[in-house]
């Protein structure tokens, strides 16, 4: 249950748009990213990867590589002598360094550390791997069929019905009511099947780290990640180290979008460091990023929805089949939870199937599972509206979830913002702007849970009265700015008196990774509470100085004040004055807060997009795009708008051009940004963000996470727009020109 944390207030700092504190270093090239960290005596690491989609490793001969001058360590799976008991850890180890079987094109099979990059490359070329190539499967529907090549036997959960390949490892079910009864009440029922391709997060910065690990068991790791505590815990778990002996420091981060919430190679760097006795730097090439880190899942989905003539959804059902890649896991359950989450439905059932294939282990990507959850649902709703001649915003409003609605995935909603986004869309000039020939307008809604989780913040009041704030989450979306702003707001001090840093794993308690759009909410909550803690201490110090009771002290505008006339007449003591004498009033002043933050408010968005389809080539041009999303409270509106725009931009890429393309040989054919086409600036219109603020009851300032919901509606919004522009319903992503042209010609 969300806590009742929210209190209405007038903000001084929160809601303004100050210059970002990391801006100058980033634009002048001084910011240190993963690959910018070096150490004396450092070696260069490199990883040998399987060229086969599926192959048994009969043997690896590293003797020639080890004989090369300058090669200081060569490792294979045999060097990882610690066998984790935990199956998740064992899977991560196997993914970082293949054991008996290479499970996908790009799977690591050996690694080297050498005194130069070119020697490391030569050493990789000298390693001889004896592969026995096995049958492979890279398509989700094929992988589910009995008789499909099995990636790993014995991983199927008991909830999977009979009749499927062992590759189907899990099945989940959600919903309430009886869709079949609902369909009987409908005036129109549409059932369609949809496919989406695997897409990569496309972060600019490839993975990079620098590792040391001595014979004393102490190690340091500098790494580009979304969660250095997670990296520490996983590396310790995989290598059998004590977490306290391994200190992990997060570098600046050049994008992650979920792809850096996992461990792909850091244990390898540590093992190379241990074996060589030297610091080892390991960096992925772009090719390696595509082949060996996780894209999100591809999907195959069936959706059936019934609607009355006046737009009421009477029954809804969906089956989601998603690729987990080479290891068990998967996010089909999230698709099954999110697909119908925007709607108030009497009869809704969804199921999700998690499917192993010979592809890289699927990773989180911005609202994992939700975009492919929403795309088929929102497409069918649009088609129902077309065929029943209904306004697609009216129809969605008619079915919109509200406070008190029992969601399709179980919980009952507190105050939520879906209706507000739909109404804002209706009254926006975009909705009524004229369209030209071959143009269409699409709308779609989207939902994301948002998350809280384990969080620690420390706030130090320095002797000069300035404030140092330590958080444990890499700043991927402006958290240093927003934490400083919330601390300044709470303390009543100017923003420039607060500096926030990302502390290493030895400096704070456990912090959940930067995921689930959790940081502004959860770390913000902890920041506010840490500031309140510091304020309590400062009030005590003032009370001590004045000789009055601490309860008789108020804190406002960055100073302690006597609470009222009865408290005594004392001039206010500013934070600076209190800090200056702290040594004499009890010692240094610091506040801190540790929490498993609950009450992350769910977030909804409505997107509206105009596209034009070239009827002769199938090319799609995005003409206009508007995002309506509930932010709860926008702490720094520039960043919030950036999140809205960024999610839409990634969704545009996913909808129109991005896809993992596999050949019949099971190899990835487009492991680079030339043929894996993320949108370039000229592909995008100015994406207009409209911020709505329906306060989250679970946060003191009403903040909701905003980072992920923005990628949920675009797939369907663009598909609906293109389908209306082209006059034919598109049901497969990406809507690349050959696919659109073929659909046009089939009409």
């Amino acid at each position: 249950m969300p806590k009742d944390e929210y209190q209405s207030r007038d903000f001084k700092v929160v809601g303004t748009r100050p210059i970002r504190p990391d801006g100058i270093d980033k634009v002048t090239g001084k910011a240190r990213y993963g690959a910018d960290i070096t150490a004396p005596g450092m070696l260069w690491g490199a990883i040998l990867r399987s060229p086969h989609a599926h192959a048994r490793i009969r043997g690896i001969d590293t003797s020639k590589a080890r004989a090369i001058k300058g090669v200081k360590a060569v490792i294979t799976r045999d060097d990882f002598t610690y066998q984790p008991e935990d199956s998740d850890m064992a899977d991560i180890l196997d993914n970082c360094m293949a054991g008996e079987t290479a499970r996908y094109d790009g799977h690591a099979v050996a690694a080297v550390a050498a005194t130069s990059k070119s020697i490391a490359r030569a050493a990789l070329a000298a390693i001889e791997v004896d592969y026995e190539v096995l049958p492979h499967v890279t398509d989700v529907d094929e992988a589910m069929k009995p008789g499909a090549p099995v990636i790993e036997s014995g991983r199927q959960q008991e909830n999977v019905p009979k009749g499927y390949s062992e590759n189907v490892t899990g099945r989940s079910q959600y919903g309430h009511g009886d869709p079949e009864e609902g369909f009987k009440q409908a005036d129109l029922v549409i059932k369609r099947s949809f496919k989406t391709a695997a897409t990569h997060q496309g972060y600019i910065e490839p993975h990079a780290c620098l590792a040391t690990l001595g014979s004393d068991g102490q190690g340091d790791l500098w790494v580009c990640t979304q969660g250095h505590y997670m990296v520490r815990n996983v590396c310790a778990g995989v290598l059998g180290l004590d977490a306290g002996q391994l200190r992990v420091t997060a570098s600046e981060i050049g994008g992650g979008f979920g792809g850096k919430t996992h461990v792909w190679m850091e244990p390898t760097a540590l093992m190379l460091a241990r074996k060589s006795g030297k610091p080892v730097k390991l960096m992925m090439s772009r090719d390696e990023v595509f082949r060996a880190t996780g894209p999100t899942a591809s999907s195959s989905v069936d959706v059936k929805i019934g609607m009355t003539k006046d737009g009421k959804i009477t029954g809804a059902a969906a089956t989601y089949r998603l690729q987990a890649g080479a290891y068990p896991g998967g996010i089909a359950f999230l698709s099954a939870m999110c697909g119908f989450a925007p709607y108030d439905l009497e009869n809704v059932r969804t199921e999700g199937f998690e499917v192993m294939t010979n592809r890289p282990k699927a990773a989180a990507y911005r609202a994992p599972g939700a975009p492919m959850g929403a795309y088929p649902v929102e497409s069918v709703i649009d088609e129902l509206c077309q065929k029943l001649d209904l306004d697609p915003l009216d129809a969605r409003l008619k079915n919109a979830a509200r406070e008190g609605t029992k969601s399709s995935y179980g919980p009952t909603y507190p105050a939520i913002g879906l209706e507000a986004t739909l109404k804002a869309a209706q009254s926006h000039p975009h909705w009524t702007a004229p369209l030209g020939p071959n143009q269409g307008r699409g709308v779609a809604c989207g939902f994301w849970f948002n998350f809280g989780g384990d969080t620690c913040v420390s706030l130090m009041v320095n002797p000069d009265g300035t404030v140092s704030l330590s958080e444990g989450n890499p700043d991927i979306g402006g958290s240093r700015a927003s934490m400083s702003m919330m601390a300044a707001e709470e303390l009543g001090v100017p923003l420039d008196q607060v500096r926030t840093i990302i502390a290493d794993t030895a400096s704070l308690g456990q912090n959940e990774v930067t995921d689930g759009s959790r940081v502004t909410f959860a770390v913000g909550l902890a920041t506010i509470k840490a500031a309140r803690h510091a304020v309590e201490i400062m009030k005590e110090r003032a009370a001590m100085t004045w000789g009055i009771d601490p309860e008789a002290v108020d804190w406002r505008d960055g100073a302690a004040h006597p609470a009222g006339p009865n408290a005594g007449k004392f001039p206010p003591m500013t934070i600076k004055e209190i800090a200056a004498i702290a040594s004499n009033t009890g010692g240094p002043i610091a506040g801190h807060h540790e929490v498993n933050a609950e009450g992350a408010g769910v977030s909804f968005a409505t997107h509206m997009v105009d596209t034009e389809v070239d009827p002769e080539t199938g090319a799609v041009k995005v003409l206009r795009y508007t995002v309506f999303q509930d932010a709860g409270k926008a702490v720094h509106p520039d960043y919030v708008e950036g999140q809205f725009q960024g999610g839409a931009a990634q969704g545009i890429g996913w909808a129109i051009n991005e896809e993992y393309i596999y050949g019949d040989d099971g190899r990835l054919q487009n492991a680079g940004f030339l043929d894996y086409r993320i949108p370039v600036a000229s592909d995008l219109p100015m994406i207009e963000p409209v911020i709505l603020e329906i306060p989250n009851p679970g946060h003191p300032y009403g903040v909701r996470g905003v980072g992920e919901t923005s990628i949920v509606p675009p797939l369907a919004a663009i598909a609906n727009s293109v389908s209306r522009a082209a006059g034919v319903r598109l049901t497969s992503l990406p809507m690349s020109p050959p696919k659109v042209l073929a659909a046009l010609k089939a009409e």
């Binding site: 090319a619 129109i656 043929d675 086409r677 370039v680 000229s682 050959p738 042209l741």
Partner: protein, 286 residues
């Protein structure tokens, strides 16, 4: 690996002839990418940008000689060249990004011998000649005869292209190049098409050249496409015939960038659209 910076064509030829593993570096927009990817490991890299005659655009016998080291950005800012051969300049201007165009060259694009090279169909329809220097002296070759297959050229041992010559622009003529890419820039042609036409005094097309890129191992210079235009005014019927001919002439493959059916269709669409632009330019309308 050695890096050489000859200052004369003769020096470059001598270096190139001495080592079969030597590679010529002009802009480096293909070579350096391959080097970094580990796809090539030349023993010698011969940078031709210090050879002064290869870095200039000059008028010659009414046409234009473009040095092999001239970046496309310089062509794009050369008003007189652009006025004569806008299709060639625009084709070069499509390659890569602004940064890439500060380096990328016509000759490099030609000798890289990619089927999808943007400038090549445009040069072919312009009737461009490549000047080749080698151990046996200098010769001029039609640009379409340089690429002999995917990544292969007809250049002999020790030979390099030193310049591209665009002939004098015929009276009442125009050229154009269009390509199809899934994005709006920073991409590689899925289909490319160059068209050049000249009109007679009555406004009828008296000469035409049509070249298709990315639909065969090397550029297709299509007489059957040209024939659909010659003798017509470039009316809708002629353009439809051109589109059909281009679709028929294209011999593409299915790959990650497009299907056979898509490329054949789009070859027709681009031929028609490029012809319209070329005709308008010939009439002085564009």
């Amino acid at each position: 690996m050695r890096f050489e910076t000859p200052t004369s064509v003769d020096q470059a030829v001598a270096l190139l002839a001495a080592d079969p593993e030597a590679r010529v570096l002009a802009g480096g927009t293909d070579l350096l990418v391959r080097l970094r990817a580990g796809q090539v490991a030349p023993s010698v890299i011969i940078d031709i940008k210090r050879i002064s005659e290869m870095t200039v655009i000059s008028q010659e016998d009414g046409g234009w000689r473009i040095g092999a080291a001239v970046p496309s950005a310089e062509m794009n800012e050369h008003a007189a060249l652009k006025a004569d051969w806008p299709g060639v300049v625009e084709a070069a201007d499509l390659i890569g990004s602004t940064q890439i165009q500060g380096r990328a060259t016509l000759a490099g694009n030609l000798c890289n011998a990619s089927p999808a090279a943007d400038s090549v169909p445009a040069m072919v329809v312009a009737g461009a000649l490549a000047r080749i220097a080698g151990p046996n002296g200098t010769r001029d070759v039609a640009v379409q005869d340089i690429p002999s297959g995917v990544g292969k050229t007809s250049l002999g041992k020790g030979e390099l292209v030193t310049s591209i010559y665009l002939p004098p622009k015929p009276a009442h003529s125009g050229d154009a190049y269009l390509r199809f890419i899934p994005r709006s820039e920073m991409d590689i042609a899925v289909v490319g098409c160059g068209v050049a036409v000249a009109l007679d005094d009555q406004g009828k097309i008296s000469a035409a050249r049509v070249a298709l890129g990315a639909v065969a191992p090397t550029v297709i210079l299509s007489q059957s496409c040209a024939d659909t235009l010659i003798g017509t005014t470039g009316d809708d019927a002629a353009l439809d015939a051109l589109a059909a001919a281009a679709t028929a002439e294209a011999k593409p493959i299915d790959d990650k960038r497009g299907t056979i059916a898509f490329r054949k269709d789009v070859a027709g669409v681009l031929a028609k659209r490029a012809a319209k632009i070329a005709i308008a330019r010939a009439k002085g309308e564009a």
